[in-house]
Structure formats: structure tokens, C-alpha cells
Amino acid sequence: MALLQMKGITKSFFGVKVLDQVDLQVEPGEVHALLGENGAGKSTLMNILAGVYTRDAGQVFFMGKPLEDTTVRSAESAGIAFVHQELNLFNDLRVYENIFLRKELVKVLGVLDKKEMIRRTRDLMNSLGVDIHPAAMVSELDTSKKQLLEIAKALHANAELIILDEPTTSLNNDEIDLLFSLINRLKEAGKSFIFISHKMQEVFRIADRYTVLRNGLLIDTGSIKDVTSTTLARLMVGNQYTDQSVYQPRELGEVVLEMKNLSGEGFRDVSLSVKKGEIIGFTGLKGAGISELFRTIFGVLPITGGELVLFGEPVLHNSVRTAMRKRLSMIAANRKENSIIPDFSLLENFYVSEHRLSSRKPLVRINRELNRYRVHRDTLSIRASTAHAPITSLSGGNQQKVIIARWLNTQADILLLDNPTQGIDVGSKAEIYGLIQQLAHAGKTILVNTLEIPEIMKVADRCVVFYHGCIHSILPRGDISEETVMIAATNAIKSEVHA
């Protein structure tokens, strides 16, 4: 008998159907991949399951019993745990306090039995094979540990079904391995997972079955063994999908960006010269120092050694604005925290950076801004009802396009893209990579930092692999493959030599 059966789930927001007659079935002891682009209805379906939203129609059976009028609490006590992408942990509490929240063990007079809670937390962590100290402050744990803690917390609450919403977004490969081995062990113990991810490789590594949603409709469901990643991708995006590389060779110009033994916070001795029109993919494990390098080039972090030469002139800039004057721009990682100004309309989000360069003309001229916005809207195909809509009303992909438009509007010649496709659906990803090609053709120089090697293979002329804050190797386009890059990023060959 199925562990979970959702039948004919329908849900509308403001008259728009976001789920239409969707079914989902999860067996005991399986990892079920829930796939679809942003806005396909995955989150809504999961929020209905976890009791965050109420369904308009349809039935849910969990462990044979119908779930009616589900609330977050009743779903939890039924055995459904939702591990959100933005983790719901209390950073200012300790690990065991998070585990025992609302279920604290007490001694006489309601005094907390800390010893026992710590002991049980330690046992729980040991049984999961997770190395987290029970009394550690959650704020001191890194993201992967927090993720594991969330799962531990769910298990402590006797969850039978754990929903993981894009759990690997901020994890490096070692951490993903750790997470997956834990999932596999729990699966053998009979627990089930619903796994939401945009990363195809991971789906094939961990999932047993899949369900694909598109525009609120159930498209397909079946066993992972019977499909290929291309078929899945096609199912997810419909007709618009093409797997072909967008790469086209270009004539490169003179050297525009040169680093000579450049050092900063988190990286050192980086030497590289980049030509006009070139696309360079940067990759490495999380924490390898690429984000720091980008932020240093962009004037956010200080240069501590070596030299940075832009358009033939050495620079010692100490602010973002001076970097912008040197025709640099950076699309920062983590859009919500670092790029989006949430109280602004998308037009305001668009013009804010250009204004820093034109502050000698102190007035905002709405019509001029609108005209400029429309040009970028058309080239980037930003989909939004009006330029005055709040930026937060757009999907992740469209928000990111607005941010790209913000920087193109500054007439920058060198673009630093730090994880530009984070949290963006497959269709928008393809558009953004197509755009990178176009921009390079138009003479822009582009540095992309990404953890996803296939993305680099799609667009880059060269691939720079970082390891522990240094350049490990620079691969020409012909040598870029998942294997060569991973070997370099994990420093596999060198460690063999040492061993």
C-alpha cells in the first residue's frame, strides 16, 4: 500500500489555477523526485501536503488514513516533515534545543532536563552517523550541517515522509555525498523522501521514481530507471527545450582584465589575463574562494596583495562605485539577499545602479528610465505585467533578468556573474546562458562562477578551477568535461601523488 496518495489536488490563487487535478503517490522506502520548472506547482503541492495551504479539491491519504483540514501541526504529528529551502532552525538556540523545541524534557517543577536532552541528541546524531555536537550553537553550523540537523529533527519527530526542497543548493560535493548517504540509509530503514531539485544528476543519483509537473498539471510519473535526463528535461519544459550547446566561437580582442599574483580574503596568488569578448567559467568546491575573488575585483573586499589591471591601468579601488566607473559589474550570488531591493518596483530595481554613475544629474526622469527598461526588457525577454510591479511579484528567473538588466544598463564591459542561475528553472537557465553568448558576441567580457559544470561546458571558452583559494588549473574549452573539472576541483591527482 502506498505511504502517501494525493488525488485530484486542485488549488487556485486569486482565480488562477496553480494546481489542476494533480495526483502524487509515494511508496514506503522510496525517494520520489518531484520535478518541474519554477512555478510548475511543486511548492504549492508540498505546502498543501504539509498543511501550509488548504486545497480547493482533492483527497490526501497518508498511511491509509485520509488527511482532512490539515494544519502544519497535524501534518507533523501524522508523520510528514517539510525541510524548507530556507531552513527553519533557530540560529540562536543550541542543537539539542532545536531538536526538542516544544517537546522539551523536564524534571520536577518543570526544570529542563538538559543532560538527558543532550544525551538523546547525541544518540540520535550517532545513529545517523552525523557529526554535530548536541550543544553547539546552530548559528555556528555550516549550511550542510543545518540541513542534516533539520532531517534529524524530522526523524526525532517520528516523520515517515520527509520533503526536501532543493536541499543541495548550498552544499558542496562532499556535503552532498554525506546527505545522500544519509538518505540512502534512512530509505533502507523504510523512510520515504520527496526530493525537489533542479539538478538532473542528483535526481538520477538518488531518486527511485519521479513525478513531473508543468503549469499546475501532472505531466508524467514513473520509474527513474526508464528515463534519461533529456527526456525528463523535455517533460519539464515542454516544447521549448533544446539540449544543444549554445556555444559559438568568437574573435577575442585585447587583454582587458589582468590579475598578477592577486591576493585577497579567501584566495591568493591568482594570475590570469582575460581578453575582450571572452567567457571564462570559474568553478570549484563551495568555499574555494571564487566568490571572494569576484567581490574583490568588484571593490567589495580589499586587495591584500598582487596587482589588478583593468583596461591596461592598475587599480587599487576601494569601493563598488570606483569599480563601476571602471566599467565593471557584478551579479551577486544569492539574489534575495544581495541583489533584490524588495520594497522597490522592478523599474526601480532596474535603474538603481545606473544612477550611481549618473548622479551628477540628480533627478529621476521616469520616461527616460522606462524607455531604457523597455529596451532591456525586450532583449532579455523579461516577463512582467508592468514596469511598476513589485520586484517580488516576479518569478526567480525574471527577477534575475531584471538584475542582469540593471547591470547592462550601466554600460559595463566586464560582467562578473556569481552563480547567476541559482534557484532558477531550466527554461530561464537556458535563456540566461544564451544571453551570455550574445553579450560576449557584442564584445562584453564575462566571468561566470558556477558549481554546475554542464553550464560551463555550454558557454565557456576556458574553465578556471579553484582549489582552496588558488587556481588549480585552467582548462581550454576542448578539455572541459565533468571528469576533468571534478578531478581538479577536488585536487584528486595531487593528493594521489602525495599519498
Binding site: G15, S319, M330, E337, D343, V352, V364, R406
Partner: protein, 341 residues
């Protein structure tokens, strides 16, 4: 089909949205109506114009407060700046016999005091609440100390025997075309400038950006340090202007009482005006109405011959009602939208 539905929804939304965004006007007219009814026969043109006149000092400093709050900060020292600048402006006037030099001094002193707040908050990154709490204590204390131990008086009095005293003092009482108080016109002009600054200049938008997401603002090229510093400098200069106007209206400064609780009234005016205390949102136009609303309450209490001590009870209650409206209307809007579906 779906198009017309969407349009309908937008229209319905826009009515409640206007109500939500401009609730300060509703509150203002409600209080004004109460005043006119209570005052019935005794209502005169100059009585109504006095609302404008008596709102000027708090209104002007509340605009600075509004900017500080939009960046996510606060300036508790506004009342004390008024006291310190006012006191020393009297000294300057008595020494120079020149209203123009006095005005220049007031503005410059405001610039200096505001820069102290601004540099500590913007550049050294100390919390605005703490910095301005400290300067609130310091500024007033300096005014009081100087008065007693150097001037050996209990109040800063402008020297009425000076030749330009009459011109200065009557400027504070004057009316344009015998209709509108000059100081009220200054308030309107300041309102116009501040609304323009916040909505139509690139600088104004950076103030909102910093309050909305400081990190994103920094990475978009905005100098967060400078924006933060500048709003406190502007607040200081506005306090200087307000102190000068106070002198023209009253001719004397008691450093112990001038501007007391004004920071609270300014904050209340900002909140009634619909500016979010968490920063990034709200219209400065609301500040004018917030300040005037509070002034009418003074007049209602005077007209009804209530004990003046009940004043803050009513002002506090109005503040709660104003915030309640701001919270209820958006949720009403959501419910309306749902019903529309």
C-alpha cells in the same frame, strides 16, 4: 475573459490601496472634522491657519525623522538639537543683532550636530538608537549648563532693545497677504522640497534602497555609509531651521522645555504618515498630515477646556488607531480580493 477579471481586481485593489497608502489624510480630516464640530461657532480662518503655524516646528523636524526612519534608523536627538541650537541662536542674535547671521548660525549648528550623529552612525556604524539617545542627553545638557553657569540666567531671552528685534519677531507673527502665516508657508515649502527629494531625485531613492535591503544597495553601488550619514545631517539642518523659526515665533528659549518630547511627536507624525518603522517604505507627504493631526488635538483639548495633562493620552490613542488602520486596511484588501475571486 480573464483580462476583464484581472482589470476588475486591479480597480478594486486600487481603491483600497489608495485608502491604505493615504490613510493619513483620512485621519487628518477626521480629526479636523472633530475640531470644527467642537469649535462650531468659534471657528475662524486664522484659527484654522494656526494649525499650520503651530505644526511648523514639529513638522519640519519630523521630515528629518522620516528620512532617518526610512533608512531603518531613528533620531532621538531632534528635540535636544532644537534646544541647543535655539539657545545658542539667541546668544548669536544678541551678539550680532542680525536675523540673517542668526539663521546662518542655526543652519550651520544643525549641520554640525547632525554630522556628529551621522558620522557615528554612518561611518563608525554605531546603532542609531544608542547614538541619538546619547546625543539627546548631551545636547540638552550643554544648553542648560551653558545657560546657568555662563549666562547665569534661567532662560535664553532675545534682547528686545536691539534694533532688528522687532523685524525678527514680527517675521514670526507675520502673514502673507494677511491670510497665511509666513512660518506655515515655510512648512509647506519644506514639505514640497522633502517630497520632491524623496520621490524624484536619485538621492531620495537611495535612502529607500538602503532601508529596504542594505546589502543589495551596497552591491548596487550605493554608498550606504554616506546615505546614512547624510540623513542625520539633513535632520540636523532641519532642526536648525526649526529652531530659527521657533525664535522668530517666541523670542525666547527655555532649554529645559523646548523640544521636550518632540522626538516622540516627530516619530508619531512619521508613523501616522504611514512610514514603516522597519524602513524602506512610506511617503514623506504623510509627515505633514501627521504633524498637523497632532497639533489639532492640542487645539481640541484647549477648546474643550480639558486638563492639558490628558493630551498625551489622546495622542497615544490616535497613534494606536492610526497604526491599526494601516494594519487592517491591507488585510481588508486581501479579503476583498478573495471575495472577488
Amino acid at each position: 475573459m480573464s483580462v476583464s477579471k484581472a482589470d476588475n481586481g486591479r480597480q478594486k485593489q486600487s481603491i483600497t490601496r489608495v485608502l491604505g497608502n493615504y490613510s493619513f489624510i483620512l485621519i487628518f480630516f477626521a480629526i479636523l472634522a472633530v475640531y470644527l464640530i467642537i469649535n462650531a461657532g468659534a471657528t475662524t480662518w486664522s484659527g484654522v491657519m494656526n494649525i499650520l503655524r503651530h505644526s511648523t516646528v514639529v513638522g519640519i523636524i519630523a521630515f528629518g525623522m522620516g528620512l532617518a526612519i526610512i533608512t531603518g534608523g531613528i533620531d532621538l536627538s531632534v528635540g535636544s538639537m532644537l534646544s541647543l541650537i535655539g539657545g545658542f541662536s539667541v546668544v548669536v542674535f544678541n551678539a550680532t543683532n542680525s536675523p540673517v547671521l542668526t539663521l546662518l548660525f542655526s543652519l550651520f549648528a544643525g549641520l554640525v550636530l547632525g554630522s556628529i550623529n551621522g558620522l557615528l552612525i554612518g561611518r563608525i556604524k554605531m546603532p542609531p538608537f544608542i547614538v541619538t539617545l546619547a546625543t539627546m542627553m548631551i545636547f540638552r545638557s550643554i544648553a542648560q549648563y551653558y545657560l546657568r553657569s555662563v549666562e547665569r540666567k534661567s532662560i535664553f531671552n532675545m534682547d528686545g532693545t536691539l534694533s532688528s528685534y522687532d523685524a525678527f519677531y514680527s517675521f514670526g507673527q507675520s502673514k502673507l497677504f494677511d491670510l497665511i502665516p509666513t512660518v506655515g508657508i515655510i512648512l509647506i515649502v519644506v514639505t514640497a522640497i522633502m517630497v520632491f527629494l524623496s520621490t524624484s531625485t536619485k538621492y531620495g531613492r537611495t535612502v529607500y534602497a538602503v532601508g529596504s535591503n542594505e546589502r543589495a544597495a551596497m552591491l548596487a553601488g550605493i554608498s550606504v555609509e554616506w546615505v546614512r550619514t547624510s540623513v542625520y545631517i539633513i535632520t540636523g539642518v532641519l532642526c536648525g531651521l526649526a529652531a530659527f523659526i521657533w525664535l522668530a515665533m517666541n523670542g525666547a528659549v527655555d532649554p529645559a522645555t523646548l523640544g521636550r518630547s518632540n522626538e516622540m511627536y516627530a516619530i508619531a507624525a512619521v508613523v501616522i504618515g504611514g512610514i514603516s518603522m522597519s524602513g524602506g517604505k512610506g511617503k514623506l507627504l504623510g509627515v505633514l498630515f501627521g504633524a498637523m493631526s497632532y497639533n489639532i488635538i492640542d487645539k481640541i483639548i484647549a477648546a474643550m477646556r480639558f486638563d492639558a495633562l490628558i493630551n498625551d493620552t489622546i495622542k497615544g490613542a490616535i497613534l494606536l488607531v492610526a497604526v491599526l488602520i494601516q494594519i487592517i486596511i491591507p488585510s481588508l484588501r486581501r479579503r476583498l480580493k478573495k471575495a472577488g475571486d
